[in-house]
Point group: C2
């Protein structure tokens, strides 16, 4: 685990962007920025459909843009769109161990949305930090199995 810093942040996993029309947003990011779709999923528990588009690959940690569109207006992304309109919604930091990173946040007195790690998209283990007290920035801590195997392989 050489090179890991205290809360175990390994890199940027994704930047979440809330959009109304997922197909138009995907087409724009393909045609204007040249990004490629790597994953599509509906996350029923969050009433959201997501498309991950890869930007870079950082020693096995893919940097993605995560386009998010609500399937129900009464959902976190639906309420964000109603209040703010389309735009950047959150930063997903890749961490080695979501539970450990959360414990570090508790020690530091950080306001949390999720007090326990939970299942995110594509089998990831995730937890959200509240934007209040985090400079208005909604932060997701993202643990993925592929990170651990990459970390072990280096």
């Amino acid at each position: 685990m050489m090179g890991l810093i205290l809360p175990g942040v390994l890199g940027i996993d994704h930047i979440g962007i809330a959009v109304v029309d997922l197909d138009s947003a995907v087409k724009w990011h393909e045609e204007v920025l040249g990004l490629k779709t790597v994953h599509v999923q509906e996350i029923k528990s969050d009433s959201v459909k997501e498309v991950l588009m890869q930007v870079g690959d950082c020693n096995g940690i893919r940097n993605n843009i995560q386009l998010l569109s609500p399937t129900n207006q009464d959902s976190p992304v639906g309420r964000f769109l109603s209040k703010h309109g389309e735009g950047i919604h959150h930063i997903g930091y890749r961490v080695a161990d979501c539970a450990q990173a959360l414990r570090h946040c508790v020690t530091m007195g950080v306001d949390l949305i999720d007090t326990e790690p939970r299942l995110g998209s594509a089998g990831a283990t995730v937890a959200f930090i509240h934007p209040k007290g985090a400079f208005g920035t909604l932060i997701e801590l993202v643990e993925k199995v592929e990170t651990l195997s990459t970390a072990n392989g280096h």
Copy 2:
């Protein structure tokens, strides 16, 4: 230039976050997320002071968080803070050639803030795409000399 996609997006250069108190924001990102300051600069033409904090290193492209605080309220970041409060301000995509990426955007009919590349922080060449028509997302295209030398070196 193997692996380059059409507009030449190489990776995520930085995520810009607008904050009121730069010192508190740096301290929080150090203590909670373990990020390290790699660059500090006042950009007088934009009336902003920035601190870059490294998150990951993506084949020579550092992923950074760019904390931004205005030195003058009547400035782009000052007006953003007045209107929206603290939060994620923009995405900086690293590109191989800012002028070429801009020409691609013009061809695609994208609304631009900068119609010509200009000097950004730390000697970078940058241009901004307007959030209108880009799903509410302010996008900066960032060309840096270190990218080219890394690209040539591989």
